[in-house]
Symmetry: D2
Subunit: 226 residues, 4 copies
């Protein structure tokens, strides 16, 4: 996957949308796989934990978890163990999404748990300062998502390009090996092209595709705009 990641990357977060739960999760993942094959754009799907195994078994697409806890195997009822999602077929995970904020110590512990099990990591952050701080923890990716734009349809790459380029510059100084994604309000190929032009590796999005009237058309539009 390391090689694929140098091409533009689309990370599709299924959140807890019914349109992306159970059989719908598999159906959307299959659609993503088909669009990825047609266009050559790398796509990662991010289903709920109970759907990871079914999605991983039905497709060859990269599957990430939405969250893992910074724990080792043991007495942690209700936590998400890195080994469990890895075993189910995930090859990476989001960490610290704005809808699931973690303590700094737990972000670090989750990255360590991911490394231990061979999961790639995308740490989400809300501004330039916290993106730099996240990069200091050496995840594979940071994803800057201003919370006030999430789910609005107002693309961060166009509404607030300075926050994206500022995050790219800040991360470069702290650790040039960490790649930068951006999210919040992204839905069209134009939004994605703007994100790439600002120095990101790709985008993290959810409702723009999952809640679209025609998800396949929306995704194709997104990736062919590059």
């Amino acid at each position: 996957m390391a090689g694929k990641m140098k091409t533009p990357l689309v990370v599709l977060n299924f959140k807890t949308y019914m349109e992306a739960t159970g059989k719908n999760a598999v159906r959307i993942a299959e659609m993503c796989e088909s669009v990825s094959e047609e266009t050559g754009v790398s796509i990662i799907v991010v289903p709920q934990p109970a759907d990871i195994r079914a999605v991983a078994e039905a497709t060859d697409i990269s599957v990430f978890a939405q969250h893992i806890d910074g724990i080792e195997a043991g007495s942690h009822t209700g936590s998400i163990l890195a080994e469990s999602v890895r075993n189910a077929g995930a090859t990476g995970t989001l960490i610290n999404h704005s809808e699931r904020r973690l303590t700094l110590a737990d972000i670090d512990a989750a990255i360590c748990a991911a490394r231990r099990t061979g999961l790639k990591t995308i740490v989400c952050s809300n501004n330039i300062a916290t993106t730099g701080a996240s990069a200091a923890l050496k995840p594979n990716f940071v994803a800057i998502e201003p919370p006030e734009l999430i789910g609005t349809g107002i693309p961060v790459s166009k509404a607030n390009p300075e926050i994206v380029s500022g995050a790219v510059d800040g991360v470069l100084k702290i650790d040039p090996d960490v790649q930068v994604l951006c999210g919040a309000g992204i839905s069209t190929g134009e939004d994605m092209a703007a994100a790439l032009k600002l120095g990101t590796t790709g985008v993290l999005l959810a409702s723009g595709i999952i809640k679209a009237h025609e998800p396949r058309k929306a995704l194709t539009n997104l990736v062919t705009g590059i």
Copy 2:
């Protein structure tokens, strides 16, 4: 299941033990199913979310989630949606385990989410007062587990029988329809018999079986002591 629940009940929490993750989760669930069929004792297995579907597909045993969030479908990255675990095959869920404490408002919201999707609920609590408070929220079960005894092998039903009988009495006054389980330190048939004698419907346990040298033997010993 409502009918089965009147017989003694064993709830086996898989926590995030490697011995109960992935293929091991299925293997232990199959063992539980076999012991349940041989002995007539009701057993519920509680695997991690990524293993719910595999366990539910491989067995006919009741499968509960370890945790759900009190949310509706929507933008809740990293949360556990009741509909998702239900769809994967769970028929109930633990709520508020001592390793995953929730706010009072979230316990109530999780019970509502469970009701909405037809999941049974077991609310865990730490003392007589919080067990009564949990019963006031009308879950199917409350499970009293003094945190200081969890994982010790010192059974609450013998070390602190007053807390168990006090919880049973307290719940009876608040809502006689709520059944009481107890946990913490339970591992032998004698511990379980003591729990039932104190007025509980059954026990919640984990390491006493999962970490046993011979889990099947340990489980058989537990349920034949009744």
Copy 3:
């Protein structure tokens, strides 16, 4: 204070309003004391922790903390110790306000810490079910505040009288010694009269007085409407 509490009670939460911080906290507390003396209505003021001592030294009015943690003295940096606010002059505390939700176990522990130090307790709750659950923990008061009405100026006692009378009935069944307050949107004497008529002992409010153009006039209006 126990005696005073049988008369209608007004609990004025200073939140983290600048209008009720530092010297302003003392000024508002003095105004409350004066209105209480004039009208005979019991008023409790609830300043921020750093202002408790100054308010308690400047007035004879009852001072409650906004929050305490369910801890004992020890290594708990950043927590609010019951003994600390008691020593500064508080005679009670809010617990589990909607802006500071606690786990069920921590609500219980905070009530125990309050009892240990002689602090009265008001547990805030969001609906009928959680109000009943709170009452099962035996605080002095429960205060039902539907979060969706807080700060709106739409009084719960008029917009949703069923939730208030339902809470009063529910608490009566669980523990008749626990008194019920209501909050959210309360600002006028009419709102307060409606609350008392529904069986509550009084009201919990904040912006309706603190943010009023003329706080003294607003408070006088509130308490003379009874």
Copy 4:
């Protein structure tokens, strides 16, 4: 204070110790002031919020809060507002102590709140990675405290010098303006001398002084060992 901070610095955390609550807080702060005057070593005292004003009024020593929330004035019952502790006399604050961990976004927000009100900031962290991440947020100080050594009497500066020098090096690369403190197990002058030799500006400690048989003697020993 900026000038004083270039000399060795001792930060004394009062935690929620009874020995440092109420009148005891004032008494210990006065003792610290006296030792500081005698020895020329800068000392900052960190009492509970309800004691900040009394300590600030009784002494000229620097007073820091144990925690602030990353909020603005408003509806935040139970939170610690930067303006409130500043008004009471604090000139700085700890943030993210191991006993009060915050989300990454909240650490950043708390630093912003502190800057807004002119409070100095000490962000606590648990290892080299999170110390670097904290430095990226541009507080005045970071304080590395391996949680496993806190309260043990085993000084981090001697038990694990690599973690201290590693933190100093890491912070230097990310932002040379951020000063590094270390804590955990520090109690003697020898421990403090070792900490300074490793490149720190000073130490953060609590029980080593507060719980000492003779606190003044313990503090004098600490600062004269430099």
